[in-house]
Subunit: 208 residues, 2 copies
């Protein structure tokens, strides 16, 4: 298809597609004339993926590039690609606090007790420590066990998600499924948690 | 305590505290001299809350102000305060897409089947519809039922969270607990989900 058709099929304006091309977020089409190129379904898929990462995931173009770089490497084991994608997908601003290393050693020790198969480098470890630190600064006298219930539910969700990923026949589809799972289902999970809070809040505190 | 002590106790620099005072995010202390005021534990708590909303929640100062306004209104039922806080806590950029209203009518109908006690206005409804739309744009032929599992886990978490809120004796503590729950435990949940994904990914795809 031509760029105008790619634009129509994806709902992404032509100037934005040209921008993705210039920035290397989208591979060039097959050249058919000096000013014309042909795009196929892989381009359409990639345009959609970039758009979801930017609009749903709220990622910067630099972060999108890191995710795509991770996706495009076929020479590494799947779990490493996923780890690289996760690192690239991190969008929280790291918390700077002198007390963070101590909180981190506590949350790391608690993660050990869960028996999860983890490498040391996941940036989510710092996010978890920052959450514990924030609770304490707000006067909650709690340890990492306050997250026990969240760990159980996260474990059940991730188990089902990776089962789905493992069913995919091509590795590319598997990795894409994980990136989508992280970005899109994360947003859905947050939305549903807030709706469920509304439900329980209205039910407990008397709105009909 | 004096402003210097408030700064030491909270770990927030004096200029930042002065900025919070100027912006009305922190009520003034009790004036003891022309250039001096006394602050108490409520100020300390509020400084921590603002800091957590900004640093952990990633909220803009304007959003922080809306959350605090919701917290400071004591004349409305608790569930309305929570609803106002939720609206203020929303930080996702709304998705603009012509196909959103159709997706929204589907996710709204699906929410009905869950039997949750919801008002119509929660902005999380749009986030959920945007997630469904994103999946479809990526070629997934799915309906809102793809979120069934997420709804079950969100429901279980929110039930426990609101049970905790209901145990609080002062309404102020209850509302604060919910705001903290939303911001801090949301971050913890996201971090734990990513760690659980790493665990299942490494376990399924062979890293030790």
């Amino acid at each position: 298809m031509r760029i105008s058709e790619l634009s129509r099929a994806s709902g992404v304006p032509i100037p934005t597609i040209k921008y993705y091309l210039r920035e290397g977020l989208l591979p060039g089409g097959e050249r058919t004339a000096r000013n014309q190129a042909n795009y196929d379904d892989r381009h359409l898929r990639r345009v959609h993926l970039v758009r979801v990462l930017v609009e749903v995931g709220g990622l910067s173009l630099e972060a999108v590039r890191s995710v795509l770089d991770a996706l495009d490497r076929s020479d590494v084991p799947l779990h490493e690609t996923l780890a690289a994608a996760h690192t690239a997908l991190r969008r929280e601003t790291p918390v700077r606090d002198d007390a963070l290393p101590l909180a981190r050693s506590e949350t790391d020790a608690w993660l050990e007790t869960l028996g999860w198969n983890l490498a040391g480098a996941n940036p989510a470890r710092d996010d978890l420590a920052a959450a514990l630190l924030a609770l304490r600064q707000l006067g909650w006298r709690v340890g990492p066990e306050v997250f026990d219930r969240y760990a159980r539910h996260a474990d059940a969700l991730a188990d089902a998600e990776l089962a789905y990923v493992a069913e995919q026949e091509e590795p590319m589809a598997a990795v894409e499924a994980t990136v989508i799972g992280t970005v899109v289902f994360e947003r859905a999970l947050i939305a549903l948690r807030r709706l469920a809070q509304e439900h329980h809040s209205r039910t407990r505190f008397g709105a009909r």
